[in-house]
Amino acid sequence: MQIKSPEFKENARIALKDVGLQKALGNLKAGFPEKRAIAVQRMPEFHDMRDEARDLKNHILENLDIYLEQFESKVTENGGHVHWCRTSDDARKTILDICQQVDAKTVTKGKSMVSEEINLNEYLEENGVQPIETDLGEYILQLRNDHPSHIIAPAIHLNLEDVSEAFHEHHKKPKSDDPAVLMQEAREELRTKFVNADVGITGANFLVAETGSTIIVTNEGNGDLTQTLPKTHIVITSIEKVVPTLEDMTLFLRLLARSATGQEFTVYNTLSTGPRREGDADGPDNFHVVLVDNGRSDMVGGELHDMLRCIRCSACMNHCPVYGAVGGHAYGWVYPGPMGSVLTPQMVGIEKAGNLPNASTFCGKCEEVCPVRIPLPKLMRHWRTNEFEKHLSPKAVRWGIAGWGFFAKRPKLYRQMSNTSNWFMRTMAGKKGRINSLPLAGGWTDFRDMPAPSGKTFMQQWQKKQGDKS
């Protein structure tokens, strides 16, 4: 996927005026946050589990090398193979190599954001292997030559008409505006593809070190057909997904479904351990786990360490006012919303993604709902500092902050300035207490009024309070 993060501001402007997108985003706001709230209410231990999950992830990261080695040795013991890939390029080549070894023509795919991260589909196609997305949302996107705008609801930016149009064009069937009919069409189209594919590629939500298992969590059942029917099963996943035991995996599963879709449990939670066993009547003959790093190991022990706890539930973006207003494509790369604003600069470079950590009101809702308590605003602030220090922010921002810094370091002058500007703003606001146009702040006042400061400054109030005491 091309990186369009530098154009965030322009993307956002377009998104805000896109009637279809705004209609589609309405479905998000009405759906996930409310369902999550109900699920959380039904589980009184939910917040204690979040603490446990945070602590457990921290323990795993402290011992990440040991757990990964344990996982690898168990996969091997069960007859599978682990491939370590430092970069996207390593991962793409490894997967193509496995496909070519079995002379693969077509590959079915379960939903995987890591595969988006490494641009797998384009690469396989260029090299004569046809990838077929089987998750309904991903399938719709593939027909439209589109990319996911959300990590668990990939086609959330589309409306029924868009799906109906795409299916009509590709399936050559009468147009329908009934979602049930459209889903049935996709089911029928994909049936034969599942059965005929040479390789099945899935992601993994967790890797269990104790048993050498990978687990996928899906509602449709497409991932299960993908990993059961073809002769070769490739799991593409990343190094931070390892957990110690089945019990530890269980803790995360309880949090994941509720944080993501607000379900009590996702319909299919499936563990894959090695290839089929002697005597098994189905299942793959070959089992490969492609472990992708792609910048993650550089985060260990650094400022972004906490981000490695992320379990990709999407709660942060589901509750983000910025994501809710502009959707996922505006962010311009694979991971949108608050988690994307932290990860994208790490993976594609702050030079290209500097806009993203600024695309936040710092309302703190993302941290409030994060099942593993990642301090997302703090991590975005890290990038803002980094961007400023590298002189990457726009001139207006740099001069503004430098100007503010000049006064902030001179308290007397600062107090005088704030008294004057308060008086100025109050005068401008008049009796209604609101300002409807302000020089240099059109970006704010074009859309809403600026409330005038209502009373005395903090310092004035403080001095008065101290005076009253004595």
């Binding site: 204690d48 011992n63 509602n219 059942g221 299960d224 530890d248 066993r277 189905d282 299942g283």
Partner: protein, 221 residues
């Protein structure tokens, strides 16, 4: 090559070299302890209440439940269900417990033992456990019970014994370890209701790629 680089990076980040004996031992002790994390109170109930919870959670997840008082009633119940739904063929797992049943109630409905194929209407399998916490079935792959039976047909009929219903997932993992030790079967499925998707406008539709209908034959033995 990549592995050494990744491991080196991780260790550099952790400000240490290769883990020492004590660190490894701590990790292995944790792996061997297989200790529970917080188990929700909801799942810690007397068995009768677990069964009730299982039923209400499975129904909430849109599974159908047919209650039977003993094993031998399965063929008749299956036959009745298939007749009502006008289904002529049943693809079945071949576990001994199934083969020993008297299938004459099926009449002209064919019962075949094989892996599932595209176009199959209905399958029948046993289950390993039921998990009350969320109304979840646990199944695993083996020669007698191919995994495709759980996913390809339109309808999945699954036999569950009341005695194998546990409260939390953790208790099912204990049963798995008792049965398989450290080497798990190729596939372990946890299934909670029939297949669904909300990928079109966030409106939930049942029957995406897996079974549209999940029927649990609950035997109250």
């Amino acid at each position: 090559m990549s592995k050494a680089e990744i491991m080196g990076n991780i260790r550099r980040g952790l400000r240490r070299g290769e883990a020492n004996e004590a660190q490894r031992a701590a990790v292995h002790n944790r792996l061997n302890a297989k200790a529970n994390n917080l188990v929700p109170k909801r799942a810690q109930l007397p068995h009768a209440e677990q069964v009730a919870l299982f039923k209400s959670m499975a129904l909430e997840a849109a599974a159908e439940i047919i209650e039977l008082s003993e094993h031998s009633e399965v063929p008749q119940a299956v036959a009745d269900w298939l007749h009502v739904n006008q289904i002529k063929e049943l693809v079945s797992a071949s576990d001994a417990v199934l083969n020993e049943m008297d299938w004459s109630p099926l009449g002209d409905i064919q019962r075949v033992e094989r892996v599932a194929q595209a176009g199959d209407m209905a399958s029948l399998t046993t289950t390993f456990a039921g998990i009350a916490e969320t109304g979840t079935l646990m199944l695993h792959s083996r020669g007698e019970s191919p995994t495709t039976l759980n996913f390809l047909p339109d309808i999945h009929l699954a036999i569950l014994h009341r005695s194998t219903i546990v409260g939390p997932y953790e208790d099912a993992w204990k049963m798995i370890r008792e049965a398989f030790g450290n080497k798990l079967p190729r596939t372990i499925n946890m299934v909670t209701g029939p297949s669904r998707s909300a990928d079109i406008e966030q409106k939930l539709q049942m029957g995406a790629h897996g079974p549209r209908t999940l029927v649990i034959l609950l035997i109250n033995d």
